[in-house]
Symmetry: C2
Subunit: 379 residues, 2 copies
């Protein structure tokens, strides 16, 4: 019996988007869902109570970062990541693969794993399928990710084929090394860049291994949005209908909708929390840079159409003041609002699926936010 | 009818410490009390809800800082400081006098006020009794402070006498300039350093002006603790029993108790919030520097005898990790705990007054925390 189970509720008759529930050892969450990112065992500035008030169903944390600080041995001794950070709902951990490729220096990819220098002090490190499983087993996340190679974009087909094949071999080693399959569900990651044949091959090879869930990796790495959508269109049909599907690293509102329409159930991204720390907001009026002088005497809420805690109680002028003065409470407020925006958006997406009108919702949303414009303000 | 009224409940038969209630336009708070400091219209990292959960009865904010950023005109337009920062309980604002003397450069004290350069960009500024009233009237705090000179410690008696006399003349100008006496109570500030005759003169002159409350200023500026205590002993007897008394800038636990014993009702200090940002905690076992390596695998609470939200839910190991990684949620947790420590301490002080045993409580507390030792770890 797998630790993770996907319950399909219905599909949208207009788009095919899936409404479902993912059941985990720490409770269930509805899909499609957006997962806030808690890199260092904290969603920056947020308390677990804040996240529950926001109705976050699951959060993501980073294997690479927790391996380096405080060390997975300490988190294991604490009784696991849930207890360590006081979060009793589901947690997904990535494999560290992405950080090794995006943050580290001097990496060398071998069949056994990746040799690299860490981004904090330059120490030599080695990450492999077995090590990524050891760390994630210590963390005790509900959903673990297989250790994969994240190839650059764009990449030659030959490079990509070698990479995908290695990722498949690594996935087999992950399954073999996973020590707690009854407590933690391990997801495979489909790679293959923009190459349809490679995505199909990757998906078929991984599905044959019968993971309890599948991710689509290697997207949101600089490719145009239509490439992302096309890749999803020729990839998700190869994934089993009775398992959850996770599009890694995607958090732009338009891409969340377009991903759901292509059969994706789970998303994560640092986007809402990262731009919040710079005072940039997702609002129903589009992108808002609250530090701008125009808001110095604007006593209205960040978003006039939002009913979140922040918009009910604080003005643009106050939040601008806090951010300008580098007061962390300002970042708490902008982070809260942006997470509310995306979590609330996913609630609207689920409602639209329920009503078989996600296609209409997409049109309305893209119209309101200007995503139909060729030079749409991108988040 | 003054905006501020002091209701005396009883005095401790063992020490003479006062139990009371201060009534303000934004509600009442019990005394003796500790006021968290919200310099920039926010108690750093805390939400108003956090402060209410901590049972903070009143907070302090800084005229000087709000004058510079965002500007008191903006806060006035917002409907006042309470509305601007979403805090509906009492607020006390200082006069800016202390910051002019502690932060600014090139200050020149004249009879009309103080010319100085601000600490942010060096701009020339001028602060006077009239300006301090104008700013505080715009902020709309419940308790305003008169604009005084904060003399250095130590200061010659001649210098101190001139300073005290000027502060008295400034106090008269403050009363004359105060535009909202029915909405906001203005407190006078007794100065005079360690000179008994000057403290007496200052107190008598100010009491003759019939302020709704009085502060003792110019302490906690580097003088030994026994000097502070002696000054309080020969100053508070000159203050009227039916008005609240505020000891400015004092937040060390031992000094809160010793101040209450000498008839003080209100205290403020950045100490608990400032040391929290460096990972230093006030605990029943004394000072705790949670960043120390000794706590890396310590899965117990910050304070085993504390029942605050932080101690109930988080470990030293987790908080150490957050602080080491410069995660603001760590500072949120340490700030919360330290404020709880002092606010809870004042609750214990009030209970001890109620039971006529504040002297005994002091002995027990000083023994437990080592404040009786000659080299007591100071906060």
């Amino acid at each position: 019996m797998s630790a993770i189970r996907y319950e399909h509720i219905k599909s949208c008759k207009q788009t095919g988007a899936r409404l479902g529930i993912v059941h985990t050892p720490h409770g269930s969450f509805e899909t499609p869902t957006f997962m806030p990112v808690g890199t260092m065992a904290t969603v920056k500035t947020m308390s677990p109570e804040d996240l529950k008030e926001l109705e976050a169903g699951i959060i993501l944390s980073n294997t690479y970062h927790l391996w380096l600080r405080p060390g997975h041995d300490i988190i294991k001794e604490a009784g696991g990541l849930h207890k360590f950070m006081n979060w009793d709902r589901p947690i997904l951990t990535d494999s560290g693969g992405f950080q090794v490729f995006s943050l580290s220096k001097f990496r060398r990819i071998e069949e056994e794993g990746v040799y690299f220098r860490n981004h904090i002090n330059g120490d030599k490190l080695f990450l492999s399928p077995e090590k990524a499983m050891e760390i994630q087993n210590a963390l005790g996340s509900d959903i673990m990710m297989a250790f994969d190679e994240c190839p650059p974009y764009p990449a030659e087909e030959k490079y990509m084929r070698d990479s995908v094949e290695r990722t498949t071999r690594w996935a087999e080693r992950c399954i073999a090394a996973h020590a707690r399959p009854h407590d933690q569900g391990l997801f495979g990651i489909v790679q293959g860049g923009e190459y349809e044949a490679l995505r199909k091959q990757s998906a078929q090879d991984l599905v044959a291994m019968d993971f309890p869930g599948y991710a689509v990796g290697g997207l949101s790495v600089g490719e145009p949005k239509d490439v992302m959508n096309r890749v999803l269109e020729f990839t998700t049909p190869w994934l089993p209908a009775d398992k959850p599907r996770y599009l890694m690293g995607v958090g732009s509102p338009d891409s969340l909708i377009d991903g759901a329409i292509r059969g994706i159930d789970m998303f994560d991204c640092v986007l809402p929390t990262r731009i919040a720390r710079n005072g940039t907001l997702m609002t129903s009026e589009g992108r808002l840079v609250v530090k701008n002088a125009a808001y110095a005497r604007d006593f209205g809420p960040l978003d006039p159409n939002c009913d979140c805690y922040v918009c009910k109680n604080y003005s643009r002028a106050y939040i601008r003041h806090l951010i300008k003065c580098e007061e962390t409470f300002g970042i708490r407020l902008t982070t809260y609002h942006n997470l509310h925006f995306l979590i609330n958006l996913m609630g609207q997406v689920r409602q639209a699926i329920k009503e078989d009108r996600l296609g209409d919702f997409r049109e309305e949303f893209f119209e309101q936010y200007g995503f139909n414009q060729p030079n749409a303000k991108n988040f």
